[in-house]
Structures are given as structure tokens and as C-alpha cells.
Amino acid sequence: MGPFGTPWMTFAAWIVTGCSVLLSILWAVRSSRGEGDDR
């Protein structure tokens, strides 16, 4: 059983949501470094 009495398989939905936010930030940072001043 995972946090808050949630089975891990169900709790993973929250983890995926958090990872999506992280992915979007990493992608934005990486693409701004790689592409500089494109329009």
C-alpha cells in the first residue's frame, strides 16, 4: 500500500502528474538554451 492508503498502482497517477510538470520545465529550459533567439 502506498501513501494515504492508496495502492501504489493508483498512487502512481499522482507521480505521473508531477513528472509531467517537471518534464515541461526541463524541456523549456533545454530548448531555450539550444535555440537562443529563434522566432
Binding site: T6, P7, T10, S20, R39
Partner: protein, 480 residues
């Protein structure tokens, strides 16, 4: 002040604000590019939050709550994959290319893009027809959700709720076009977020926290906290897939990428859309909690309106009500713009070759927006049951028709004109037939529709001549 008076006051203020936005933006309208795309001058915050508002309509909030109520915590996965695939990956994979390609080809609509990309009138007509027809079906689902909310929270007859919401949307869209849609969408996303957070906090407080909610649900049926839960893998995966990946082929969302001011701004937009989209998880959670607090509801779609009435103060309830109405309105408004674009721009101007001045094109687009809005309201007054199924049906048809030719048209050169058209027909027919025969094995029509569409695209493209190199150069690099 009575709860109904509070709701009425908050809603009147809110709707007055929307009409004011429509009036202000109408003064910036000069031509059809302003009506359909806001002159391609929209910033990242407005673009991304209006994307979120259009994505998560009242159908998702009310219908999602219904699914959480019926199938339990496993439905959190629908929200989570909505965020990952429908927001983050959609912006990363589609955003940049769509903005570049549509700017280069000077197109304003999804049917317009398919027509120019594949040099195909058939693709334009088919896409315009499917988009106009099935988005009206989707509109009916949205209005139905709003009607239910008015009914439960304000004690108004269902048809009055449908009529009031429909009329306000038609007014501000016909006045301000796309600019009104994105600016109201931007404001509506904040109202939706505030409403959903208030309701979630209220529901968790009422049930005694998430641990207590899980324990109570497990005592009703242990499957309600497990994945895939009572729904089973087939139902859960296919619904998750259609409401996440299906978004990639939905014109009212994809058009946001056409209109952003520059490619560079997509970076900020991706982060904002993902964070804003995270609210998608909440209706499923709240719906599951409603199963504990109100176990005997006759209709699962009433889970969220009923919970709102019981766990929020009249002012909190009024904000949530405004949030749900906002969610529906933003999606409905986007659809009015898209359908008027499909009819006026793709069928009348490009398809039938009718020349219209900028003023006439805007006037015609306004008339079509009003007509589509009124037809949707008329159908919604006596609609079929269960909102999400109805909506998923229209999403399946549109996405199965447009998604592969749109997505692959941005990345590969080998798709031929015949391949694109065959893909659209195969996807549409398969999705409709599959749904018509009762969705065998619990699999949503979108899945076989997408498989057939891809198979037809690959097979026919292999067997038919490629598009000329100079055309592909113009599409992919702007050089001919």
C-alpha cells in the same frame, strides 16, 4: 442572502464580464484572420490557459466526476495522462511545427492545413464536414453539463440553464471572435482552477482526508481504490487514450498553436499549460469522494453538483458554479469559432471559390457562429443521456479523421494526397462502425479508428505517387 441569490449575483457579474470582453475585443476586429486567430498576436499565458480552459470543459468536470463516482480512484489515471499526453507532450510535439507550418502556408484552420499540406480539396471538405458536424454533437454535451449544474445548484429548470449559457456564449463569440474566446478562456481557466481547488478542499475536509476517503471507498468495494478498478483495463485505457492522445487531432485545441505570437513563446506556454492542466485530476478525485458521501445518487453525473451543494458555502458554491460554467463556455466558444471557420473559410471561400471581402467574411463567420450556437442549444434542450459517452463519440470521430494526417503531415514527407484522404475516411468509418456495433470488448471506437486510419495512410501512401518535391520543400522549409 439566500444561496440562489448568491449564485445569481456571482453568475450575473461573471457573465457581464464575459460580454464586456466580447465588446472590447470586437473593436480590434478588422479581417477574418482577426476573427479566427486574433491576428496571430496572442501571448503564451493567454494561449496556454485558454488551451486548458477549452480542453477541460464542463463535460470533463461533470462527466469526470461521474466516472470517479462510478469507477473510483483508478480514474485518476485519466486526469494524469491528460496532463502528460494532452498538455505537455502535445505542446512539445505539435506546438512548434504547427506554428511554423501554418504561418508558412498562411492557413487558419485544420481543414485548411490538411488541404494545403496535401494539395487536396477532398481533405478540406471531409475535414470541414466532420469538424462542423461532430463539434455540434460535442457542444450538446457541454450545454447538457451546464444545464445540470444550474438545475441542481440553483433549482432552475434544466432548459433555462442551457438557454442562458448558450445565449451569453453566442453573444461574446459573435462580437469578439477568437480574441474574445482566448481572453475569456484565460479568465475562465482561473475561475475553473479556483472552483476545483475549493471543491476538492471542501470534499477532503468533509470525508476526513484522503486516507479516510480511501478506507471508506475500500469498505464499499475494494476495487474502487485499485487500478484498473471495476472498469477494467479495456475501458480505462481506451477512455484515457481518447481524452489524451485524441486531443492532438481536436481543431479547437490545435488552433491555439496557430495563433501564438512566436515559436519562442511556446516554451513558457508548455510549462503554463502543464501546470494549469494538472487540475484535470481533481474532478475524478472529487467524484470518487462523492461516492462515499452520497452513495445513492441515481445519476453519477450529479455527483459533483450534489457535492458542491453539501460541502461548500453558498459563496464557494457560486465560485465553483462559475468555474463549471466557465469550463463549458470556453470550450463551446472555441467550437463556435472552429465550426464557423470550417464552414465559411473552408467550404464557402476555399471549397466553393466564393470571394468575400474582409468585412463580408467576418459578417458571414458571425452569422455561422450564431446559427451553430442556436442549433446546439435547441438539440441540448432534449439531449441523450450520459455526457461523457456522447462527447467521447464526437472526439473519436474527429480525432480518428484528422489526427494521423495532421501529425505525420508535420514530420514526414512520404504521406501522399491519396494516403491522407484514405486515412481520414478509414478512421472515420471505423470509429463510427465500432461505436455503432456497441464498442466490442469495452474498447472505445477511437482505438480501432486510429489503427485503421494509420494502416490506410501507410498502405495507400506506399502505393500512390509522392507529392512534388518543390511542394514539399515549400511546406517543410519555406523554399520552393
Amino acid at each position: 442572502m439566500s444561496p440562489s441569490a448568491v449564485y445569481g449575483l456571482v453568475l450575473a457579474l461573471y457573465m457581464g464580464m464575459l460580454v464586456a470582453v466580447g465588446w472590447v475585443t470586437s473593436r480590434r476586429m478588422r479581417g477574418d484572420e482577426d476573427y479566427y486567430l486574433g491576428g496571430r498576436t496572442i501571448g503564451p499565458w493567454v494561449t496556454s490557459l485558454s488551451y486548458v480552459a477549452a480542453y477541460f470543459s464542463s463535460v470533463v468536470i461533470i462527466g469526470g466526476g461521474g466516472f470517479g463516482y462510478r469507477y473510483g480512484m483508478a480514474t485518476l489515471w485519466i486526469g494524469a495522462i491528460n496532463v502528460l499526453v494532452g498538455c505537455t507532450l502535445a505542446w512539445i510535439v505539435l506546438g512548434r511545427r504547427i506554428r511554423e507550418f501554418t504561418g508558412r502556408l498562411a492557413v487558419m484552420t485544420v481543414p485548411g492545413f490538411l488541404a494545403e499540406r496535401y494539395r487536396s480539396r477532398e481533405a478540406r471538405f471531409l475535414a470541414a464536414l466532420v469538424v462542423a458536424l461532430f463539434l455540434i454533437v460535442y457542444n450538446v454535451g457541454i450545454l447538457k453539463g451546464m444545464g445540470h449544474v444550474f438545475e441542481v445548484l440553483m433549482g432552475m429548470p434544466y432548459w433555462v440553464g442551457v438557454l442562458v449559457s448558450g445565449a451569453i456564449i453566442v453573444v461574446y463569440v459573435s462580437l469578439g471572435g477568437y480574441l474574445a474566446v482566448v481572453w475569456t478562456g484565460f479568465l475562465q481557466a482561473w475561475v475553473m482552477g479556483a472552483g476545483l481547488i475549493l471543491l476538492t478542499v471542501g470534499a477532503l475536509k468533509a470525508v476526513g482526508g484522503l486516507t479516510a476517503a480511501n478506507a471508506a471507498l475500500a469498505s464499499v468495494n475494494p476495487e474502487l481504490i485499485r487500478t484498473p478498478g471495476p472498469w477494467g483495463w479495456a475501458g480505462l485505457i481506451s477512455f484515457t487514450f481518447v481524452f489524451s492522445f485524441g486531443v492532438w487531432g481536436m481543431p479547437q485545441l490545435v488552433v491555439r498553436f496557430y495563433s501564438i505570437r512566436s515559436v519562442r513563446l511556446l516554451r513558457v506556454g508548455t510549462v503554463v499549460a502543464t501546470i494549469g492542466g494538472s487540475m484535470a485530476v481533481l474532478p475524478y478525485l472529487v467524484g470518487a469522494i462523492a461516492r462515499v458521501l452520497h452513495p445513492d445518487l441515481a445519476n453519477p453525473d450529479l455527483a459533483i453538483p450534489t457535492l458542491t451543494k453539501h460541502v461548500l458555502s453558498p459563496w464557494g458554491g457560486a465560485i465553483f458554479l462559475a468555474g463549471v460554467i466557465a469550463a463549458g463556455m470556453s470550450t463551446f466558444a472555441s467550437i463556435l469559432i472552429i465550426t464557423s471557420g470550417a464552414v465559411v473559410r473552408d467550404v464557402v471561400q476555399k471549397g466553393l471559390g466564393r470571394r468575400l471581402s474582409d468585412r463580408s467574411a467576418v459578417r458571414a463567420s458571425r452569422s455561422v457562429s450564431i446559427a451553430v450556437g442556436l442549433v446546439s442549444v435547441a438539440i441540448a434542450i432534449r439531449p441523450p443521456d450520459l455526457i461523457l459517452v456522447l462527447t467521447a463519440f464526437s472526439w473519436a470521430a474527429i480525432a480518428a479523421t484528422c489526427l494521423w494526417p495532421l501529425l505525420l503531415g508535420l514530420y514526414v514527407r512520404w504521406v501522399t494526397r491519396a494516403g491522407a484522404v484514405a486515412s481520414m475516411i478509414a478512421g472515420l468509418v471505423t470509429a463510427l462502425v465500432w461505436t455503432g456495433i456497441g464498442s466490442p470488448f469495452g474498447v472505445h471506437g477511437f482505438i480501432p479508428g486510429m489503427a485503421a486510419s494509420l494502416a490506410a495512410l501507410v498502405t495507400v501512401s506506399r502505393a500512390t505517387p509522392r507529392l512534388p518535391e518543390h511542394h514539399l520543400e515549400r511546406v517543410f522549409s519555406g523554399e520552393a
